[in-house]
C-alpha cells in the first residue's frame, strides 16, 4: 500500500509479500538528468502455484505486482515526501499468460497532493503482447522527521524461487470457505514495512472473495475452479492494522459470462471499519 524503498531488518524476504511473486524492479532515470520523475521496469516469472483458473497469473497476484512497482515509482517521484496508495484501477484483457510478465510504470501526473502512475503489463512469452494496464493514484504525505535512505538508481533483483512454495491462499492466509464473505488472518508476513496490511494482500483477498461470491450465485455452483477475476478497482480508504480482515461481497449482476461484484473489505478488529471498497469483474472460464 506504500512505496517500499526501505526494508526493515525484521522482514523475512523469503516470505514477504513483495517477494512472493518474485518481482524484479529497476529504476529507469529520466534522460539527461532532468527533474522529471523516474520510470520503473519490472519482470516476474509465473510459477505453477501462482496460476489461477484463467491459466495465467491470478489477477490478485498481478495487482500485487502492480501495487509494488506503482508504489515505488510514485514514491520516488515525490521523495523525500511519502505516499500512500488511494486507488488502483486495472483492466486485464488476457488471463492465460505464458510468462514471464514484464511491467513498466510511468508517472502521468505529479502534483502537490497526489501522484498518478500508469502501468502496463506485457507477456514476454506471448510475443510481448500487452495483457493488462493499470492506473494508480497515491496521496502525498508529509514524512515529518522520518527519512528513507537508499541508493539510486534502485535495483531490486529477482528473489530466488521458494523451495517449498505455498499456495496463494495459504500464503495470503485466506481462510477456506464459500459464499459472499471471505476472511483473511492478518499475519506478520502480510504486513508491509510500515506494519499495515500490504495493498497486494488486499487485492488478493478481493480477487478470492469475488470469485467465491460469483461461484455461489452461478448455476455451476460453488468453488472457484471456473471463475477468474479480471478488471478490478480498489479504493484504499484506510490502513488495515488489526485484523482479521473480512471481504463482504454483493453480486451486482451477471451477463454473458461476466459477473460484477462489489467487495467491501472491513478490519474486523478495528471496530469493523471499512478499509477498502473494490469492484471486481469475474469471468467464467
Amino acid at each position: 500500500m506504500t512505496a517500499e524503498p526501505a526494508e526493515p531488518a525484521e522482514v523475512d524476504h523469503r516470505r514477504h509479500v513483495s517477494d512472493y511473486f518474485r518481482l524484479e524492479r529497476r529504476e529507469i532515470p529520466a534522460e539527461g538528468g532532468s527533474d522529471q520523475p523516474s520510470s520503473m521496469s519490472g519482470r516476474a516469472p509465473i510459477e505453477p502455484h501462482h496460476r489461477g483458473a484463467g491459466g495465467g497469473l491470478r489477477t490478485g497476484g498481478l495487482l500485487t505486482n502492480l501495487d509494488s512497482i506503482g508504489g515505488l515509482t510514485s514514491g520516488l517521484a515525490v521523495h523525500p515526501k511519502w505516499i500512500v496508495t488511494t486507488s488502483l484501477m486495472a483492466t486485464v484483457s488476457e488471463l492465460a499468460h505464458v510468462g514471464p510478465l514484464r511491467l513498466r510504470a510511468d508517472v502521468r501526473r505529479r502534483g502537490r497532493a497526489s501522484v498518478v502512475t500508469a502501468i502496463e503489463v506485457v507477456d514476454e512469452g506471448a510475443q510481448s503482447r500487452q495483457v493488462a494496464a493499470a492506473i494508480m493514484t497515491c496521496a502525498v504525505l508529509d514524512p515529518g522527521a522520518m527519512t528513507l535512505g537508499f541508493e539510486r538508481p534502485i535495483v531490486l533483483a529477482m528473489p530466488e524461487p521458494q523451495t517449498n512454495p505455498m499456495s496463494i491462499t495459504d500464503f495470503f492466509c485466506i481462510e477456506p470457505g464459500t459464499g459472499p464473505v471471505t476472511r483473511l488472518r492478518l499475519e506478520d508476513q502480510l504486513r508491509n514495512p510500515w506494519g499495515i496490511l500490504h495493498g497486494g494482500a488486499v487485492a488478493m483477498l478481493a480477487d478470492e472473495a469475488a470469485c467465491r461470491a460469483a461461484a455461489a450465485t452461478s448455476d455451476e455452483g460453488v468453488g472457484t475452479g471456473g471463475f477468474a477475476a479480471a478488471d478490478t478497482v480498489l479504493h484504499y480508504l484506510r490502513p488495515v492494522k488489526v485484523g482479521p480482515v473480512e471481504a463482504r461481497c454483493r453480486v451486482i449482476g451477471t451477463r454473458g459470462g461476466r459477473t460484477a461484484v462489489r467487495v467491501a473489505i472491513h478490519d474486523v478488529g478495528a471496530d469493523d471499519r471499512m478499509v477498502t471498497l473494490a469492484s471486481v469483474t469475474v469471468l467464467t472460464v
Partner: protein, 291 residues
C-alpha cells in the same frame, strides 16, 4: 435550477434532461430519460451517458459534504452488467468516505419507470444494471464568497432542463473521427460541453473515450466500432481541458476470451501544448458475443 449559473441555458446536461433529489447529507439520486439518441450498439444507454449521470450524482453529494470547499472529480469507474433500456435510468449515490483531501462515493445504476420507481419484471425487481465509484478531490475554498449556497432543508429536488437532443449524442457534441483504427477522435472544448470550471465536462470525456475505444477495438477485430459495447470503464482525470480540441489516442491490448478486449485511451488538450488530460482503461465486448 442551476448551481451559481451552471449549467448555462444551452448545455448538454440540460438536453439530457436530468432530474435530481438530494435525500440526505450523504445520499442523492439523479435520473434521465432513455431516448434513441443516447443508445449504444446493444440498445442500452451508452456508458458515457451513464458516466455523466453518475458524475452528476456524485458531484451533488460531494459538493454538499465538502462545503465550504470545492470538489473536482479525480477518478470514475463503472461496471455494466446489462443493457440499460429505461424508460428512465437512475443513479443512486452514497458517500463511502470523507477524508481531508478526498471523498469516495459509490452509485448503483438502475432502470426506473416514469414515476422513478423500480421497474418490475415478472413480478420481481431486477438486479441493478451497473455500479460506479468515484473519487473527488477536495479543493480548499480560496474565496468564501464563491462558495456555492445550498438549501439546508432536505430533501432538495432540482432538474436540468433543455430542448432535448435532436440527434445522436456523438453528433451533437460533435465527435469527429480522424483515424478510427488508431482511435483518434476529436471533440471541441466549447461551452455546450463545459463543467463548472469552464473545461470539458467529465461525462463528455467518458463519451469520447468510449467512442474512441469502440472504434479502435472494432477495427482491431476486423470491423468497426458499431458492434462494440463497453462493459468496464476506469477514468483518471489528470488535468482540465479548457482550450481544445480534445483528441484521443488508443492502445489496444491483447484480446481475451469470447472477443472481450481492452484498450488504454489517452486524451490530450491539443490547444494547450497537447497536455495529457485523462487516462482511461476500457473493456469492451462485441454485441452478440459474451458481453
Amino acid at each position: 435550477m442551476t448551481f451559481a449559473g451552471y449549467p448555462p441555458p444551452d448545455h448538454l446536461l440540460g438536453d439530457l434532461g436530468m432530474e435530481a433529489e438530494v435525500a440526505s447529507e450523504t445520499t442523492a439520486k439523479v435520473r434521465t430519460r432513455v431516448t434513441p439518441y443516447v443508445l449504444a450498439a446493444d440498445g442500452g444507454v451508452r456508458v458515457g451517458v451513464l458516466a455523466t449521470l453518475v458524475d452528476v450524482v456524485g458531484g451533488a453529494i460531494a459538493a454538499r459534504v465538502a462545503r465550504p470547499d470545492w470538489i473536482a472529480t479525480a477518478d470514475l469507474t463503472m461496471q455494466l452488467v446489462g443493457p440499460v433500456l429505461g424508460p428512465w435510468v437512475e443513479a443512486r449515490g452514497s458517500l463511502v468516505r470523507r477524508g481531508k483531501t478526498t471523498l469516495v462515493i459509490e452509485a448503483l445504476v438502475v432502470a426506473v419507470d416514469e414515476d422513478g420507481d423500480d421497474m418490475v419484471v415478472d413480478g420481481q425487481i431486477p438486479d441493478p444494471v451497473g455500479w460506479a465509484s468515484m473519487t473527488f478531490s477536495v479543493l480548499p475554498a480560496q474565496n468564501p464568497s464563491s462558495t456555492i449556497q445550498m438549501a439546508s432543508d432536505l430533501p432538495i429536488r432540482w432538474s436540468f432542463t433543455g430542448d432535448g437532443l435532436d440527434a445522436p449524442i456523438l453528433d451533437v457534441l460533435p465527435v469527429t473521427v480522424i483515424d478510427a483504427a488508431a482511435g483518434r477522435l476529436s471533440v471541441p472544448a466549447h461551452s455546450y460541453l463545459h463543467n463548472s470550471f469552464g473545461a470539458v465536462q467529465g461525462g463528455v470525456i467518458a463519451l469520447l473515450a468510449e467512442a474512441a475505444a469502440c472504434e479502435a477495438l472494432g477495427a482491431a477485430q476486423g470491423g468497426d466500432g458499431s458492434n462494440m459495447v463497453v462493459t468496464d470503464l476506469q477514468i483518471a482525470y489528470l488535468a482540465l481541458g479548457k482550450v481544445g480540441p480534445v483528441v484521443s489516442t488508443v492502445r489496444v491490448l491483447e484480446r481475451g476470451p469470447g472477443g472481450r478486449s481492452s484498450a488504454v485511451v489517452e486524451l490530450h488538450d491539443v490547444g494547450a501544448d497537447d497536455r495529457l488530460m485523462t487516462v482511461v482503461n476500457v473493456a469492451c465486448a462485441p454485441v452478440g458475443g459474451p458481453s
